[in-house]
């Protein structure tokens, strides 16, 4: 039976090549965009180098103070004082990795300017995050306390600054006219990890700012690591209770700061604010957008399928006359449509691999390497089946309702 359906499906595809082209183009193009977007989302949302402990982590990326009466507000990253004075005292925080947002500095290699983005970090940053050291080691608490002019650089910076040199530990790198001794080289981090990627990492104690200033606002972000996944909610609750005790700066009446799971940091950035993580909102919006995006080619397919069915009314009449029930015909047509969509899905997969290869090759986002993994494949297959079912069911139902006599006369 299935073989017969397959034969018919292939024959129908061959029959009206233009329709087939339109159908396959619609399916493969839509799926390609979905697959590439899914690969991108997977890259952004799944634990990725060097941030492998997301299940145990909460992220603090900003603080906001408001004057609700006057209607003005101030928001920024956090100060080292805030993190050390308040957050580090929390019992459920096993370790806290602190880093500043990346800032550009200028270096010169053979009279050519090289922009090096540097970040200040604390010692635990290297314990919370799992950077891969290609040579050397991270800086210790002692080196931080001594405010030594040392640096951990990325592989990309090493290649750009030192060229083909094999080992650069112990050598000096000059940025903004300050010489830093290189003590380690780490694998590059994708730019999609905004708070973690940088070209050069320096001890925070050599930053020019005054760390004794009691302002809550500054230029740092933090990753809080709990002992276990089960401790994360406790850590969050403890953080929220702590926030109630943080004194509100003069001229303001409200203060907001959130320790979020990784996913919430993304949704808060995309559609929320300091009081709303916007998880439901963003997820619903994305789902709605994907459905709408799928709906257009689906309607197109439904139309093409209906036209094709009308061409096959004689076949439908004959099948009914010789014993096919409406249910059997619906099943046949859905199977045929599935074959078409899976074929489109296969073409879409090849196109996606090609586009991902081109995106990776062009290095559109620095150090971002997209890949087609099982998660992406799974969702793509799901999208194909969804496509096949939705665009097949209505035409199949209409076909099965055709009156045999009319179908045979058509």
């Amino acid at each position: 039976m299935f073989k017969n359906y397959f034969k018919i499906a292939i024959a129908v595809l061959k029959r009206r090549k233009f329709f087939t082209f339109i159908s396959l183009f619609g399916i493969s193009f839509t799926l390609t965009i979905l697959m590439v977007s899914t690969a991108f989302m997977d890259k952004v949302l799944s634990p990725d180098y060097p941030d492998y402990k997301r299940e145990r982590s909460l992220y603090i990326t900003g603080i906001e103070i408001r004057n609700s009466k006057e209607g003005w507000m101030n928001s920024s990253n956090l100060s080292m004082y805030f993190l050390n004075h308040y957050v580090s005292t929390l019992k459920n925080v096993q370790k806290m990795g602190i880093s500043s947002s990346a800032k550009p500095s200028n270096a010169y290699v053979n009279n050519k300017k090289l922009v090096i983005e540097y970040k200040y970090t604390n010692a635990d940053y290297w314990n919370v995050l799992e950077y891969k050291f290609l040579e050397g080691k991270p800086f210790s608490q002692k080196e931080i306390d001594n405010a030594e002019l040392i640096a951990v650089i990325s592989k990309q910076t090493k290649e750009a600054y030192f060229g083909d040199e094999k080992s650069v530990v112990g050598k000096y790198i000059s940025a903004d006219n300050i010489n830093y001794r290189v003590i380690g080289v780490v694998e590059n981090v994708s730019k999609t990890l905004q708070n973690l990627s940088g070209d050069m990492y320096l001890p925070y104690t050599i930053a020019k700012e005054n760390h004794n200033n009691t302002d809550v606002m500054g230029s740092y972000n933090a990753v809080l690591l709990a002992k276990s996944t089960a401790d994360v909610p406790k850590m969050k609750m403890e953080f929220d209770q702590m926030m109630k005790k943080v004194p509100i700066p003069k001229d303001f009446d409200k203060i907001y700061c959130n320790a979020d799971p990784f996913f919430t940091t993304v949704t808060r950035r995309l559609g929320g604010n300091s009081t709303d993580g916007a998880v439901t909102k963003v997820v619903s919006l994305v789902t709605g957008f994907v459905l709408l995006f799928l709906l257009l080619p689906t309607i197109n397919l439904v139309n093409i399928n209906i036209t094709r069915i009308m061409e096959r009314s004689s076949e439908i009449g004959v099948r009914k006359a010789f014993g096919a029930s409406s249910k059997t015909l619906v099943y046949q047509f859905i199977v045929e449509n599935m074959i078409l969509t899976l074929l489109g899905g296969f073409i879409g997969l090849i196109l996606s691999l090609l586009i991902i290869y081109l995106i990776n090759g062009a290095n559109l986002v620095s150090n971002m390497h997209l890949s087609m993994n099982f998660t992406v494949l799974f969702y793509s297959l799901l999208a194909c089946l969804f496509f096949g079912l939705i665009s097949g069911v209505y035409p199949a139902w209409r076909m099965s309702k055709l009156n045999v006599v009319k179908a045979l006369k058509a």
Partner: protein, 221 residues
């Protein structure tokens, strides 16, 4: 074998009501070869479609093989057609995308039979109509007579008790028409299949056991 009691068929549009079949009573015995004649539009094909359970009468009772099919569901009707009835159409209605063998296998797809068994039965049916050398051809590669023979093979492959033929020789020249008629006569004689045939051709009709004439939806002979 087939009993029609007071069958009426009315086609309704918003403004007009057309009586296509008007109170027909007909008993067709098992193994009988009956032909239906009449001018165009007199209701011959409508009557055949009603007998073949392809169309519902507006009024009246149909019994096939002593079974009242008036309350059958779509699923039951499909099964009944599949097991008891075979159809031959004037314009063959073969599926051009499928090879001859696959076309003939079609009724067996809706039964529980293995692919091997289907192939064997379809080959046998094609042999009966003298087309065993055309199994892998597509319908468009055959002549009109050959196509009608494929359609006959498809109608008999499931070994139905009744064959309903709607002008089976209508699109063929007289030589080919006679060939098709001989196949149907042999089928009736040798296998005991009940055949009801709609025709315009007096000479073909006279080769059958009984002739029914219709005029304006009513039986006149």
């Amino acid at each position: 074998m087939i009993r029609l009691q007071n069958i009426e068929k009315v086609y309704r549009t918003d403004t007009v009501e057309t009586l296509a079949i008007n109170g027909i009573n007909l008993d067709i015995a098992k193994g009988e070869f009956l032909s239906i004649m009449g001018p165009s539009g007199c209701g011959k094909s409508t009557l055949l479609n009603i007998m073949g359970l392809l169309d519902e009468p507006s009024k009246g009772l149909i019994k096939i093989d002593d079974t009242d099919i008036s309350k059958f569901s779509d699923q039951q009707l499909a099964k009944f057609r599949n097991q008891k009835l075979g159809f031959i159409f004037q314009s063959y209605h073969l599926i051009n995308d499928l090879q001859v063998l696959d076309n003939v296998e079609l009724p067996l797809l809706y039964r529980t039979s293995s692919a091997k068994e289907r192939k064997m039965l379809a080959s046998e049916a094609l042999e009966k109509v003298g087309l065993s050398n055309r199994l892998k051809h597509f319908p468009t590669q055959l002549s009109g007579g050959q196509r009608q023979r494929v359609a006959i093979a498809r109608a008999i492959v499931g070994n139905p008790q009744i064959i309903l033929a709607d002008e089976p020789t209508g699109n063929l020249d007289s030589a080919m028409g006679n060939e098709i008629m001989d196949i149907l006569i042999n089928l009736n004689k040798n296998e005991g299949t009940t055949i009801v045939m709609v025709t315009h051709d007096e000479s073909m009709a006279h080769k059958t056991h009984r002739l029914v004439r219709l005029f304006d939806g009513s039986q006149v002979q």
